[in-house]
Symmetry: C2
Subunit: 157 residues, 2 copies
């Protein structure tokens, strides 16, 4: 089976299959006399595993671990579950972050007339780091690590 057919069968693009192979995520497959890669059912199966893992948001590095667990007969479901729970927490944290930004912006938008005049609380809020009328959020600076202190300079004149 050529790479194009493996791509269609697995849902992973040929481009990505080559990439996954190049970074060692999936093993190098045999070559035909022509030099074309030759895929068997097992290879396609594995690519499908990768594809579904990606669909659930796993990073390639984590999929590397998942593939290891998949092929390890002495794995425990506890290991798999722990990995999944870690990932779930990360997903939900990111989702919360995005939703919080949306909520802040939603509050500002509600206060914006959206007419022909230039006055706009959205622009005003971006301009100055002040509280926004969201009820409970009240700050713009989310999740950014504080910057390290710099030595004060006597900026002359």
């Amino acid at each position: 089976m050529n790479i194009g057919q493996a791509a269609e069968a697995s849902g992973v693009s040929a481009k990505m299959i080559r990439h996954y192979e190049s970074i060692g995520l999936v093993p190098r497959v045999d070559r035909q006399d022509s030099g074309y890669r030759d895929y068997g059912p097992e290879d396609v199966h594995r690519l499908g595993f990768v594809r579904r893992s990606r669909d659930l948001g796993f990073s390639l590095e984590r999929i590397r671990v998942l593939l290891g667990l998949w092929g390890d007969p002495s794995r425990t479901s506890a290991e798999v579950k722990a990995l999944a729970l870690t990932h779930i927490n990360e997903l939900e944290e990111k989702a919360r972050h995005l939703q919080e930004m949306a909520t802040v912006l939603r509050g500002l938008s509600l206060a914006c007339d959206g007419d022909e005049r230039p006055d706009c609380p959205i622009i005003a809020s971006l301009e100055t780091a002040q509280k926004v009328p969201t009820g409970q959020v009240g700050h713009n600076s989310l999740l950014k690590a504080p910057m390290r202190k710099r030595r004060a300079r006597t900026t002359g004149a």
Copy 2:
């Protein structure tokens, strides 16, 4: 004011300030005799605007537009609001996507014993594209554009 002080005052790292300047997001500032960049209050103000826009998840390209609207006395609040609403929709769509992945995985995790045995519905689900007992979600392949059809080949022998 040197770049380090502008960075601390604005919350944008010196590295990023230089980068923003290099891509034309913020104008090139004057240089001191030493060749050091020299920042004034207006520059810091603008950098703060960029910082807060980033904190709300705006892309640099969209911040370019926002900066244009900010400095445009003939802007309308409708323009700003439209841009904000577009962004809100994108944020919430991404948040939903992440949350949906988390929910699917949560369902699989609930069905996983997490003990010393290898049997694991999480691995099983990644292995084969079958329905998962989540109640309403029931699919793994989310949001991926379908791949274009390829011509079937008579894979000889």
